[in-house]
Every structure is written in C-alpha cells, then in structure tokens.
C-alpha cells in the first residue's frame, strides 16, 4: 500500500504509523458517559471506504486523514488532518 503524502509525495506505508478511525468526535468534557463510551470504543468498521488517521512518522511527521477502501486497499484521498 502506498500513501500520497500531500507534503512529501507518494511513499510506502512503512513510513507511516496509523492511529485508527478519523471520524469519532471527542465529546465535551461534561458529556454523558454513553457519549464517551461511543467515542472511545464503538466503531463503524466499514467494509469499503473508510477515513483513518495516519502520521508520516518517518517523513514530515504531519498528521493525515487517509480515505481508503478497506476491501481493496485503494487509497482514495489524503488530506492534512487540520483541513480534513
């Protein structure tokens, strides 16, 4: 699998580390417990397009949101996390 880093160009995925799903939104500090449980543990886990957070650890160290197809490993889009 190769990821097209918007800053460095296309690199092999061994240059990157992966954190997990990009879409869970951190609740407010005083949000009820079920919201926190859903944020920390529940996942959509789709078979198909999925957005996850990667860091270009052995490159520019930027955090990226990578949209990938989990069935084919095709990389659909890569954006800097702050813009995604």
């Amino acid at each position: 699998m190769r990821i097209n880093c918007p800053f460095c160009g296309t690199r092999g995925n061994e240059e990157f580390t992966v954190l997990g799903a990009a879409d869970p939104v951190r609740p407010d500090a005083d949000a009820p417990v079920p919201d926190w449980v859903a944020y920390a543990h529940a996942r959509e886990n789709p078979r198909g397009p999925h957005r996850d957070l990667w860091q270009h650890q052995h490159g520019c160290r930027a955090w990226l949101v990578v949209e990938r197809d989990t069935l084919t490993h095709a990389v659909i889009a890569v954006r800097p996390a702050r813009d995604a």
Partner: protein, 416 residues
C-alpha cells in the same frame, strides 16, 4: 459411521472409492429453534455443544462460503493457555482441556500435538514479566515452566542465543500447548454437529436480521428468509457488519493478519517458539513446512491480504532468531480478517436485542479458543445466561470499565 482401523483398511483395499460425504447438504427449513451465523470453527463448535451439552438439535449453521474457507483455515494452528488475567486463564485452560479430549469426543483425527509452546525472553525485565505470568498460570492450575538459557539451547538447537541486540536469556514453556491441524477442526466439528442433527448450510449468506419489538424473528439470506427463536452471531472478522443488521455498533475493528509457510524441510523444530523481542512465532508442520506469523498490519482491512512491510518484518524476526532459516524459500503467504476488540479480549454475551447472542472480538487468538468458545456460547444461548467461564467477556464492559486488557495497551486495537 465411526472411523476405525477396520473402516480405514476396507477403504484402502477398495481404492478409497466407497467414502461417503461426512455431512449432509440439506435444503434450509423455513424455521429453526436456533440459528448460528458463521460456519467457522466457533460456529460449528457452538452447534455441536448445543446438541451434546444441551440437547438442542433444531439448529442450522449459516455459512457464506464453504466450511473451512475463513479464519479456521487461515491461522498458524497454535493452541495454548498461557494467559495472565484470571478470566482469560480459566477460559483458555478450559479450551486446552477440550482440545486434549477432542479427537475421542468427535471421533475425528485433528492431529492434536502437545509439542509445547516456548515464549523466549531477552532481558531481565522480560524474565520477571514471564515469571509473573508463569506463576499466575500455576496458581490457576495451568502448567508452566521457566527455563534458563542452557535448557532452551538444549531444547531448540537452531536458536541464535547470542544475538548482540536480543540475546536469549531463557523462556517460559507451556508443555501442554502445541498445534492442531486446523482444517480437521472445522471438518470434525461439522461432521459431529451434523451427526447430532444440525443442518450445515453452506453458500448461504445472511443479508439481514429481522427484529420486531426488540426481539429477533429470523434472518434474510441469499436462499430466502429463515425464522428462528434464537440467533447466535459468530462471524469473526465480519462481526461488525452482521451485528449492524440488528442495529448494534460494536467495539470492534477488522484488521488483516498474515501468515506464512516455507518449503518443506526435514524435521528441525519440534515445538512452537515465539520471539520475545518482536512479534514472531513458528512451528513445523507434519508436512515439513515451517508455519510462521507475526503482527497484524495495523490498519482497518477486510482484504484477506496484507502489505509487504509486515512480510519483511516477519522475515527479519525469523532470520534473527533462526539464522538457518535464511536459506529457506517461503512457499505461501495469506491473510485473514481479525475482529480486533478494543481491549484485546473476546465477547461472548447476550445483546440488547432479545434472542440475539454475540460471539466476537477474538483478535488474532481465536483458533486456540475454538472448543471453549463453542462450549460457552452454547451455554449462553441455551440457558440465556453466561457461564462463569465467559461471565467476564461481556459486551457492556467497555461502558462499565471492567475491560480485560491483557497487554495494558488501552482502547487501540492495533496495539493488542
């Protein structure tokens, strides 16, 4: 018909032309008492123990592909019960005990081989951690032996003991661990469940779960609607998708795990060895191939194939630990889709939907759990209550905080 030496002789002398199929290929009935979704090892074992332990025989196992096509035929065949947390230790020990009696119970040769599982350690701190794990196991009545480097060297001559970066200081041995021929586990349970009356429906994909007023009515399949009073989900890497059909959102991510087999060579390894300084484990099959694996790739995947960096890492671990392996060619490599839970431990429980039961979250340790998973899941389905052995494997533990994090890695599936 039971297998026996006389049956084998008769069939050998008649050119193996008289063997009959060992399970039926029935048409689905309109309704069953209990449906099991997923015809892998866990689902088939559940059907078998529902009949054997609870007398429930009006059961169908629904399998999307064919028996043996999923993770039950894609693992590295290792069995062991060397866990630290009490809930895991007792559960996996039950599993190991069921493995020990499996072939007599099923009348099927699964090639259960208790050749030992040796976990190597490479530092004083790791020795302490392994001693603690061994002590926890022995307190629970499980066998464990802490070996020094001299004993390890005598036991497995091929290991590079004096590697400059990761010298081998010793190992924790579970002699009762070992390997089992994984295809035979699927076939053995399928045959045994079928003989007790369960219908095994291959090429029958579940496309929906019908729920009304909070209770299950049955499943939509590619062969039509099938009604049921109770439904057990045992869909491994596809658990999230099946559970979503009933409106559940699980604490599961699907990840790919790769495994490898080398060309066949003469016997050089008579136990299972795990590397303590990287994620690598190896055994030698009876055909002579070295069967080995490493870590999951680390990203969500349903692809049943991984990427090359993990292949390279596993090979590096292999030749670091066994320099002689560098002259081998590897024959095949494959991937399976793992249901990685958020704390690295499984779920066998009821669900908020009446009549719907859940068995998932096996991460990359599901094969060794097959008998106990089926045994406990059958108990949970039959009685409506978890057995004490799976009482800790609750779905709501992520909300209550009673998580079972064997590694202490937190809610990060790709770290377990």
């Amino acid at each position: 018909m039971d297998y026996s030496i006389f049956g084998l002789l008769k069939n050998a002398l008649t050119g193996n032309r008289l063997w009959a199929p060992v399970w039926r290929d029935p048409a689905p009935k309109q309704r069953y008492d209990t449906l099991i979704v997923g015809g892998g090892g866990h689902g088939l074992a559940t059907a078998y123990y529902l009949a054997k332990e609870h007398g429930i025989t009006d059961v169908a196992v629904l399998e999307k592909g064919y028996i043996g096509s999923g993770n039950v035929g894609r693992n590295t065949t290792i069995i062991r019960s060397n866990y630290l947390l009490p809930a895991n230790t007792h559960f996996y020990e039950k599993s190991l005990q069921l493995w020990e009696g499996l072939e007599q119970d099923l009348n099927y040769n699964a090639m259960v081989s208790q050749r030992g599982v040796l976990n190597l350690f490479h530092s004083d701190a790791q020795r302490d951690a392994y001693a603690r794990r061994g002590n926890a196991m022995r307190l629970a009545g499980v066998d464990a032996d802490l070996l020094d480097a001299v004993t390890v060297r005598a036991m497995v001559p091929g290991i590079e003991m004096q590697d400059a970066r990761f010298p081998v200081k010793g190992g924790l041995l579970q002699q009762r661990g070992g390997t089992v021929r994984h295809d035979a586990v699927a076939w053995g349970y399928a045959r045994a469940a079928d003989r007790r009356g369960a219908d095994i429906l291959q090429n029958t994909e579940v496309t929906g779960i019908r729920v009304e007023a909070g209770r299950v009515l049955g499943v939509e399949t590619t062969r039509g609607f099938i009604g049921a009073r109770r439904i057990g989900l045992a869909a491994a890497g596809h658990s999230s998708r099946v559970a979503a059909m009933a409106g559940l959102r699980l604490p599961i991510e699907s990840h790919v795990l790769q495994a490898f087999v080398s060309e066949a060579v003469k016997p050089l390894l008579d136990t299972v060895v795990t590397f303590g300084a990287g994620h690598f484990y190896v055994s030698q099959s009876d055909k002579g191939g070295l069967v080995f694996g490493g870590d999951i790739d680390g990203y969500n995947s349903y692809a049943q194939r991984g990427s090359l960096p993990v292949v390279e890492e596993v090979m590096e671990c292999a030749v670091t630990l066994f320099p002689a392996f560098s002259r081998l060619r590897y024959l095949r490599q494959w991937g399976g889709v793992m249901d990685m839970s958020m704390d690295g431990s499984p779920i066998i429980d009821r669900t908020p939907v009446e009549g719907l039961f859940l068995n998932c979250g096996w991460c990359y340790g599901g094969f060794k759990a097959t008998p106990a998973s089926g045994w406990c899941f059958a108990h949970t389905i039959a009685t409506g209550q978890p057995h004490p052995l799976n009482a800790a494997f609750r779905l709501d533990r992520f909300a209550t905080g009673a998580v079972l994090d064997e590694k202490g890695a937190g809610a990060r599936p790709n770290l377990h």
